[in-house]
Symmetry: C2
Subunit: 430 residues, 2 copies
């Protein structure tokens, strides 16, 4: 039923092992140039509970860049067997080094994820993902082999060949990025293939790109499978940090291997239960390049309560955006994703919306311009006013402030190529 013992740890066991491992991490990390300085002589013995992690300094992407390529290493160079490097579009890339033990524990964690969603030896696993420096490719590949699946390293692209492999070898499980999954489903239809009738597909790992619950359901419908969400980042090995169980209600963070905090990106204090904040992660098992309290910039929240699956590893929601997108209005943190979720849940709302921040005198205000679908944009002012008020109430409920809502006709807000610009800050600085 379970892949390993750690999967069924109680909260007490998890926290006990976290304290022991955190102490080891602090001790080990101090051997690196970067942490020798930034830890400033903190004594590992001072770590007596999980909360003592707050005595340790945070680590940022800039810290990693500044110590590029090897300022975080704790063992001699000849003990490393793998290196992944981020693309580094701005400034220095970041480099992540792995010892053989790091590769082993990473593969174990990834195998645990796959086992959790019912993948077993005998399953045929097609890894439809790029390999090379992208940790999602080799990371999931090693996990699949560790688990004992028949692993087909089919790589990204070449759709016709992917389909042939899937038919010939009766592939049961795949790893695929969400945007390619929908394209792939269309290609199947065009080839006259009904996945439920002609294929043996049962389950998919989808990750690497943020995607909505709706996209997941579309992928599941189109391919006749169950799709499970994955979270990871190279600084914490890669995939295998958090993963959905069969319940599909949030991703369990493997807390025996990663210590997770969710902090207010401004105050750097823990957010209240269930509130949104920035994921901050500490790797508890990485021996060659431990990273302490890494600010991921990913926004998320813990899901409350226990998972019906019985596992005690806490669950996080889908990634809700990037910390860099956060707005502060009257001292309240607001994320565009919160507003988007409220708007998109309303059938009357169209494709586009715009958030304007302004100040009237010295008081901040938020204006939300919302496109309304043609069929709802009728000449009945009373109905429109009622809709406007419903939207306002729903937004206030979510963001705890009352924005000024304006309804506009479909296709009147400026469209942008690529990633839409949803927030305009018109506030004057005083």
């Amino acid at each position: 039923m379970y892949f390993d013992k750690a999967e069924t740890y109680s909260r007490e066991e998890i926290e006990r092992i976290q304290v022991v491992r955190l102490r080891n991490v602090v001790e080990r990390a101090a051997r690196s140039r970067f942490y020798a300085e930034s830890l400033g002589g903190i004594d590992p013995a001072d770590i007596r509970s999980v909360d003592d992690i707050r005595r340790l300094p945070l680590t940022t992407k800039n810290d990693l860049r500044a110590s590029y390529p090897d300022g975080l290493l704790t063992v001699p160079h000849d003990q490393f067997v793998r290196l992944h490097v981020s693309s580094g579009t701005t400034g220095n890339p970041t480099a992540v080094y792995y010892t053989q033990n790091d590769l082993n524990s990473w593969a174990d964690l990834m195998a645990r994820c796959m086992h959790m969603i019912g993948i077993r030896p005998g399953d045929v696993f097609q890894n439809m993902s790029g390999y090379g420096l992208f940790t999602g490719g080799l990371g999931i590949h090693y996990g699949a082999e560790r688990l004992g699946c028949l692993t087909i390293p089919s790589g990204a692209g070449n759709t016709a060949r992917q389909i042939k492999l899937m038919k010939d070898f009766r592939t049961t499980a795949i790893h695929i990025i969400p945007s390619y999954a929908l394209y792939f489903a269309e290609a199947l239809t065009k080839s006259g293939i009904d996945p439920r009738r002609d294929l043996a597909l049962r389950v998919a790992l989808v990750g690497a790109e943020p995607h909505t619950e709706e996209s997941r359901r579309k992928i599941e419908d189109a391919l006749g499978i169950k799709a499970y969400n994955s979270y990871g980042l190279s600084e914490m090995n890669g995939p295998g940090v958090a993963f959905e169980c069969l319940e599909q209600k949030g991703m369990h963070v493997w807390e025996d291997a990663y210590l997770i905090e969710i902090l207010d990106p401004e105050t750097l204090e823990p957010v209240k239960e269930g509130e949104i904040g920035e994921i901050v992660m500490t790797s508890l098992l990485r021996e060659g390049m431990p990273i302490i309290r890494y600010r991921t910039r990913d926004l998320c929240r813990f899901l409350p309560g226990e998972c019906p699956c019985g596992r005690k590893h806490r669950r996080i929601d889908r990634i809700l955006g990037r910390a860099d997108d956060m707005m502060i209005l009257k001292g309240v943190n607001i994320y565009p994703m919160q507003i988007e979720q409220v708007l998109m849940a309303m059938p009357e709302v169209g494709q586009n919306y715009l958030i304007e921040l302004d100040n009237d005198g010295h008081i901040d205000l938020m204006r939300v311009k919302v496109e309304i679908k043609e069929e709802f944009f009728i000449e009945d002012m009373r109905a429109l006013n009622a809709l406007r008020e419903r939207i306002q109430t729903a937004l206030r409920y979510e963001i705890l402030l009352t924005p000024k809502v304006e309804l506009v006709e479909a296709n009147t807000l400026p469209k942008s190529e690529g990633k839409a610009k949803r927030v305009i800050d018109l506030r004057k600085q005083f």
Copy 2:
């Protein structure tokens, strides 16, 4: 000095272990559908010497295709953890399955190759090769990790990034395909990088494409490194079948893992010492999908004598062509590569030549039309005749027949796009 014990086996030890393993292979192979039939109840106990391999049937690419996808498997499906599939441009592709033990022994052999050319833990190994279904990518990747190098899975292409990785991480060893190596060296020059001054490169594994000794020297000069030739094929795992030692005088075949024969492609009898024939291979360690006496279609010859390095594993030459290119003339096997080598060694000969097979009455004859460089195509009939005779003599010495040689002016023979058509058979069948 040596990676493992098998590397220094004496001939007696090699042959003793070959017999034991060959017996195991026969026993194991008989559990597959294909060999249950084709071995026809051969008793493993009948294998008493290496030469008894000749009692076993040959296996062809067509046999593999006909048993696609799983007719050669000897253990249940759930014991396999990897699958590689050839591209299969014509008809069914071929599928090669690996158990965890198969992956382990493959990685060991590949690590042995890299160790032989002086690569060690502490070396930074950049794997500049495609990953995915191509066995050269993951095969060499696993070998490098097994050996304990810092392995950078940089993948194919993206030259600017390859250069940045090479500089930032002081890469000492690379795997690169020969045609990309020369392109890459040019890119370095264009970026103002002198590999001897600015990089730490020391050694390259080059394989996957046949290339000449001259190309190797060019790669070595351009990158300031030593380049070592590699031989392998997916049916025998992938790379790691044969590899050059520091002497660079032919590739040692790892005979504890592969039993190699070189056979006349027509008679299927062993060729004489040093003669060219088709490589026929038996995998001695593969447990999940053993292949017996596989006709590779690759033409090669054993190199005579002992290697100065002291290893007793026999050496083969560079791959000299494909068996499908063989011509039979008056009962003699002739390979276009032999003629090309003779012609290209002569400074007067231009880019193009054409081999015509014809029969005059019932007697086969070969006509070789040779383009002569402009500066040598002078009006001095005596000089031209002397040249023609020199070519004829050199060819007779190589192929043991006297062809009719015709000298023609440069750019008069038909040019073909892509792979040149060098042989035209005008013989009438009787």
